[in-house]
């Protein structure tokens, strides 16, 4: 009993320590966002603001942050949904369908994970120019999906491989087609992994920078990161403004994360089916 209590106590201590490690920087960012530029430079960076000033937030909205929000939201939303469906389909084939090249296909995706993003810039720019999607937000979806695919397939195949075959076998006896097995059994059973992939890609796309930099040209189509960089100049950065943007842009991701994590946990019931 005593041992159990100590374990629980240690568990909470650890949780609290990590809470500080993970959360304190966020408080720092929030704190800084409430300061005036002058205040930030003339007082200690760690001090709390003289007064809670939401002026920066108003300015950020005026600087067009809502627009960047919408732009980013559109691209992220579309790309995440696409990637989840496409990656799940590919992973299903790799793990559950017997065909000659399944190992090769898997290897190609693994290879895709190794491609350094900066070596794709020139070809991606060319392709986007050619197909006429340059300076459109739609044009960002393709590269995002392509770049997120390998890692998503990798995570999903890992998970799907562990799904026991009995479930499928029962369905096959019932005369279900491969397509039905995918939509009715494998996809729902992969729920925890699918939401994990969705969270991961969501965060990456939401903060994506380099494709947006090279494929977007008008400020009205900037995403959040390009908008944030705008406060960063060669001869001086408006740090409180940057931090304000960081806070604003983090809020929707936090909300979505909470929702998605709930979905991951709800997979628990599905997980029980695995036996």
């Amino acid at each position: 009993m005593l041992l159990g209590k100590i374990t629980i106590f240690l568990k909470y201590i650890f949780c609290l320590v990590w809470l500080v490690i993970a959360g304190y920087p966020f408080i720092f960012v929030f704190n800084t966002s409430l300061k005036e530029r002058r205040e930030f430079f003339t007082t200690s960076v760690w001090s709390s603001p003289e007064s809670w000033q939401f002026q920066n937030y108003i300015e950020a909205v005026k600087a067009g942050f809502l627009r960047y929000f919408l732009n980013t939201g559109f691209v992220t939303f579309s790309a995440v949904i696409l990637i989840v469906i496409i990656a799940a389909m590919a992973s299903y084939v790799i793990t559950r369908i017997e065909f000659k090249y399944s190992n090769l296909v898997f290897l190609i995706f693994v290879a895709g994970m190794m491609i350094p993003i900066h070596s794709t810039l020139i070809p991606v720019y060319r392709v986007t120019r050619t197909i006429g999607l340059y300076n459109t937000l739609t044009g960002l979806i393709g590269p995002y999906v392509a770049f997120g695919l390998p890692i998503s397939v990798f995570i999903l195949t890992g998970f799907m491989r562990d799904i026991p075959p009995q479930m499928e076998e029962a369905a096959i006896i019932d005369g279900a087609s491969k397509f039905q097995i995918f939509t009715k059994i494998i996809f729902p059973l992969s729920r925890p992994a699918i939401f994990t992939v969705a969270i991961y890609n969501l965060v990456i796309f939401w903060n994506e920078f380099v494709y947006a930099l090279i494929l977007i040209s008008s400020p009205g189509k900037w995403n959040i990161t390009l908008g944030l960089w705008n406060f960063q100049g060669r001869y001086g950065t408006n740090i409180p403004m940057v931090m304000t943007g960081v806070i604003i842009s983090a809020v929707p991701v936090i909300i979505l994360y909470l929702f998605f994590q709930d979905q991951v946990i709800r997979g628990m019931t599905a997980g029980a089916l695995k036996e």
Partner: protein, 302 residues
């Protein structure tokens, strides 16, 4: 005539129903994006790596000159070394921490949702913020870390964390681990959630304590997930770019350079697109072979 027709029909039908065709159909969308955006860079970079090319106009074909230069380039090997330091330290720090957090958060604990949200923060902050935050944590004069060390009487440990040649890379590694723990944590959470509750219940009846059930149920059940997270961690470490770039830019004087930052500055600051591509291709080859070796060694023995 009729027979041939019905034969044709049957063949077509067979094809339509065959695994191969189904696989093709289901892989089509993935390969569409893959081919359009991701396939070209490998051969293209391979070609560029044979050129002396500033990125404008026509390059000059110089054969394997870039490659022989790469082999003699001490900065490149320094960068490779740094990448591998990151690989090992990530495996050592990042994954165990993430696994522990995931286990704790999926055990019966109050406020788990709150913890889970806050623990995710490092990952969701944009890299712009990472540079500023860690810049101030490590700042030699007003930095949080040095202030803390001073406050607890460990003045002798005070360092110029990002500015010293010796420690810059380790300082960035700590920040990188901090940033990616949440990613592996959510992977593990998804894995743990998938473990059937009955296994634990059975163990509890047998009187197993937390450690035993972790050792004998959680770990074995998570084998695939752990294996995958190791691969992802290795690949992520070898490809790391943004975090290092915003914290040190690879400096001071290349001290915290990794392959990706070196490739980037070579291509876009020094305008040596040809040599930059050589670094890109080697990054690809190194990452691919390391992952393949790992996957091969840990393959399921049938």
């Amino acid at each position: 005539m009729e027979k041939i027709n019905s034969d044709k029909k049957r063949i077509i039908n067979n094809i339509l129903k065959s695994n191969g065709f189904f696989a093709f159909l289901f892989l089509l969308p993935a390969f569409f994006f893959f081919t359009l955006y991701l396939l070209a860079p490998i051969p293209l970079s391979g070609y560029y790596s044979l050129l002396r090319w500033s990125g404008v106009g026509e390059g000059v074909f110089i054969g394997l000159n870039n490659w022989s230069r790469l082999i003699r380039d001490s900065t490149f090997w320094l960068a490779v070394g740094n990448n591998f330091k990151l690989v090992f330290l990530s495996l050592l720090i990042q994954l165990p921490t993430a696994l522990f957090l995931a286990v704790v958060l999926t055990s019966k604990i109050k406020l788990d949702k709150f913890f889970k949200t806050v623990y995710f923060f490092p990952m969701l902050l944009s890299t712009v913020a990472i540079g500023v935050i860690w810049g101030y944590i490590y700042n030699p004069n007003v930095g949080l870390l040095n202030n803390f060390l001073e406050a607890v009487g460990l003045e002798h440990l005070i360092l110029d964390w990002l500015g010293s040649r010796r420690y810059a890379i380790y300082s960035t590694i700590v920040a990188i681990c901090w940033r990616f723990v949440p990613f592996h944590m959510i992977l593990y959470i998804a894995g743990i959630v998938g473990i059937p509750e009955q296994l634990y219940e059975a163990a509890e009846i047998d009187g197993a304590n937390a450690w035993v059930s972790f050792r004998h149920i959680t770990l074995p059940q998570l084998k695939t997930v752990i294996k995958n997270s190791v691969v992802l961690s290795i690949v992520g470490s070898l490809k790391i770019f943004a975090e290092i770039f915003v914290m040190t830019g690879g400096g001071p004087n290349h001290a915290s350079e990794v392959m990706a930052t070196y490739m980037y500055t070579t291509s876009f600051d020094s305008y040596r697109m040809g040599y930059g591509s050589t670094i890109a291709v080697s990054l690809f080859l190194i990452a691919f072979s390391v992952s393949l070796i790992f996957l091969y060694l840990t393959r399921k023995k049938q």
